[in-house]
Symmetry: C2
Subunit: 457 residues, 2 copies
């Protein structure tokens, strides 16, 4: 149901001045996420909540009147998971940013609007580290990370968001706030509700606080950068590396991405390289060198043209930031569709080859960057939105890449979430029975279907 | 509803000969788990399934006739989670033990009846390791580990069962088999159903296959054993260690446990020690020695009487096996009630002191062993079942310890599960709203309530 003017007035009056935004220009900033997938509707209001109580108030109002609610963090999502809904409200958590480090418990107690980078910085002041590190970590929020179970570059050794969640406050579809878990590390009392809310993309509840586990900060270690003639050769090296070493980073960039990054800002990358592999080891002592040597041997065996290693953190950061900036750089080349497909690691070369085939068949450019050590790739379809044939080819390529991943026994999304952009392909991956199971959980927790309607399911 | 003879006959005829057991003597072996909590009823049959299809057949039969179903692994549970139900059936997974290692993907594909130790051994043949290691790992099954989200000794550094689950086949309450996840490492397509089934103690479905992540085998490293005058001092040392080091093991045993273990089989422990701390580091190179030195310093600062270190694996195993054998040894002293309470690590000394107070007030002996580095303790109430006053005191102590953990912001169960033994205290920990949320999920997945009724909720 669409909220009418009188109803919206009621919401405005319920909450403190300035919390509810109804001006068109202001609302516009909260309509889309970075996927810019064109699915965003026009909400009647944006609630810029200052605390959990205001989130509860807004949800109670929405529940009473059957108004759709879209929760939103920093808006850096890549699947349209926080695209606004016509006639609904968007609850933005961007003002709820508090971060409290408890060094004795080695946890961070954070509000959802806190940026990932700010949590990392606050933890670092106590010699601690919050590992999950999406490429967008400087601008993405913890709430969004939790909603998508975000990954990143260090996940190949240190795991993803869900591995670091000890506790959570969640506002349910009727406005009830539940407190799950706590600062205790192990807790199996009752069902694993905590883990269910992680990755639920705002469809089951709105996270208003999280207790995140921290670990001692790791030293930077050594970095290896290898240049390969082809992505196939580089991905074969990744498969070999993964069976012999446990690197703390194992990333790939293809030639298109290398050149896009260099066009955008020079990082000193070799523009003629077919593929660049970036590996790090944070093992201590002689183990670090030994790991890097194993990586080097795997690269050499798969025909690496050039291998460079460094233990200088600044030098290493140049390569890592090149990788992190890939999305921004590629967006300069045209309109983009972000993929996030993953396969079992040994099938990485098949995925890489299949994607090249799809690019050829659909007549589009697909740049490829990958958290390769996890088998998780980001093929990025770059196209000219003004050319209808290119748009059609891009859409086809986007779908075909997901079908390829499914055919290889993989997933349509490793870390970005399904959102709205990948919803159509979800049943193809999960099948009817698992879709029905998802739906049963959704119906149990949000029977009226007001939470993020149109996303995921 | 209780199944009558004709109905049971139908079940027997549906499945291959020998799968359905109805003889009283044979059934008796499947009635209780290690908690022996006296709650076990008399089932009409035990289904010793050979494959997932037979599990489906049995569940379909039970669903059609409203018969309760209790799933069961190796029966080593400590909370009565697989206690049989009057008039129901128990589905034992103890014949489904296949283990297949995929070294390229670094996963184990296992059936639920496979023992934890067998998975470890199979992985080790490929230089790989399945970390979760309950003390009972030689006799407990992976199915039970998954059902309780089991922990163990290495969890302080390597996490618990849920951290290693990539895929799962689950038979739902209507007999449908769903396949969740796969061999891909990262996958956020749809809700985190996989994680929801982990730790659900057979109340949501029956796990018939799991894909478990393996990591490269770690070297043994160094072991430190420190003797303290009191458990309070030892637990203070644990708190200090945890803020400075990330050990791969950090365990405590109190004087009662030390003497019980020595009575049972000599391990060369100092019977006069008030508390024994066992720490390990599997860091490589000089870091290993540095970590052990930090542990030593923390122990010294908290008044350790004696500190011993070794890099000899066999010597270390003597201490670790003493710790692992604590439950078996304590069972020799009388009847036992197993606790599994946990608190945020800095509150460990408060928990230890509180437990000593409860033992005094209730006039019972409470031995204490702990996965101390995780704040997870196992107070074990030892009592004489023939003495009504002792039984009463033991029950009271059991309840009081759980209430103490809740009061300290902790949990009634860190890794054993709620089962039937801890069910009464669950609402005190979770509160009405979270209990209702648990119930909603349960009702959505098992509307007729046939799966493990009486457990957890």
């Amino acid at each position: 149901m669409e909220a009418d003017t009188a109803l919206v007035r009621k919401l405005v009056d319920t909450l403190p001045e300035g919390v509810v935004v109804t001006g068109a220009a202001e609302i516009e900033k909260y309509r889309e996420d970075f996927a810019r997938d064109g699915s965003a509707g026009m909400p009647v209001a944006v609630v810029r909540a200052e605390d959990a109580g205001q989130v509860q108030e807004a949800v109670r109002w929405a529940a009473a009147h059957g108004v759709p609610v879209v929760p939103r963090g920093a808006g850096t999502g890549l699947s349209g998971g926080s695209s606004a809904v016509d006639g609904g409200i968007t609850i933005s958590l961007d003002r709820m940013r508090s971060i409290e480090i408890d060094p004795a418990c080695q946890v961070a107690v954070v509000e959802p609007g806190a940026l990932n980078a700010d949590v990392k910085r606050a933890a670092a002041e106590h010699g601690l580290w919050y590992p999950p590190d999406p490429s967008s970590y400087e601008i993405c929020s913890i709430g969004g990370n939790l909603a998508t179970n975000a990954g990143g570059l260090c996940c190949v050794k240190y795991g993803v968001t869900t591995d670091y969640v000890l506790g959570m406050d969640v506002v349910l579809a009727d406005g009830t706030l539940v407190r799950l878990g706590g600062k205790q590390i192990k807790d199996v009392a009752g069902l694993s509700l905590l883990k269910l809310f992680v990755g639920s993309e705002g469809t089951l509840g709105i996270i208003t606080r999280a207790i995140l586990r921290l670990i001692p900060a790791q030293r930077a270690g050594a970095t290896l950068v290898a240049s390969f003639p082809t992505m196939t050769a580089a991905s074969r090296a990744v498969v070999a590396i993964r069976t012999r070493v446990r690197p703390s980073m194992l990333e790939l960039m293809d030639n298109t991405t290398i050149n896009a990054v260099e066009d955008w800002r020079s990082h000193g990358l070799d523009r003629s390289s077919g593929a660049l592999l970036i590996a790090q080891s944070d093992a201590t002592g002689a183990s670090c060198g030994a790991e890097i040597e194993l990586v080097r041997a795997c690269c050499a065996a798969e025909g690496a043209a050039d291998v460079f290693t460094t233990t200088d953190a600044e030098e290493a950061d140049l390569f890592v930031s090149a990788r992190r900036n890939a999305f921004l750089a590629l967006e300069e080349r045209g309109s983009v569709l972000f993929e996030d497909v993953g396969v079992p690691v040994p099938l990485l070369p098949d995925l890489v080859d299949g994607i090249a085939g799809i690019a050829g068949r659909c007549g589009v450019e697909i740049a490829l960057v990958a958290h390769a050590g996890d088998g998780n790739t980001h093929p990025i379809v770059v196209y000219d939105a003004a050319d209808p044939a290119a748009v059609e080819g891009a859409r086809r390529a986007f779908d075909d890449v997901m079908q390829l991943a499914i055919a290889l026994g993989g997933t349509i999304t490793g870390e970005h979430g399904v959102g709205r952009a990948k919803k159509a392909a979800l049943p193809d991956q999960l099948g009817a029975d698992v879709m029905a199971l998802n739906r049963r959980i959704k119906d149990a927790l949000d029977p009226a279907g007001i939470l993020n309607p149109g996303a995921v399911l």
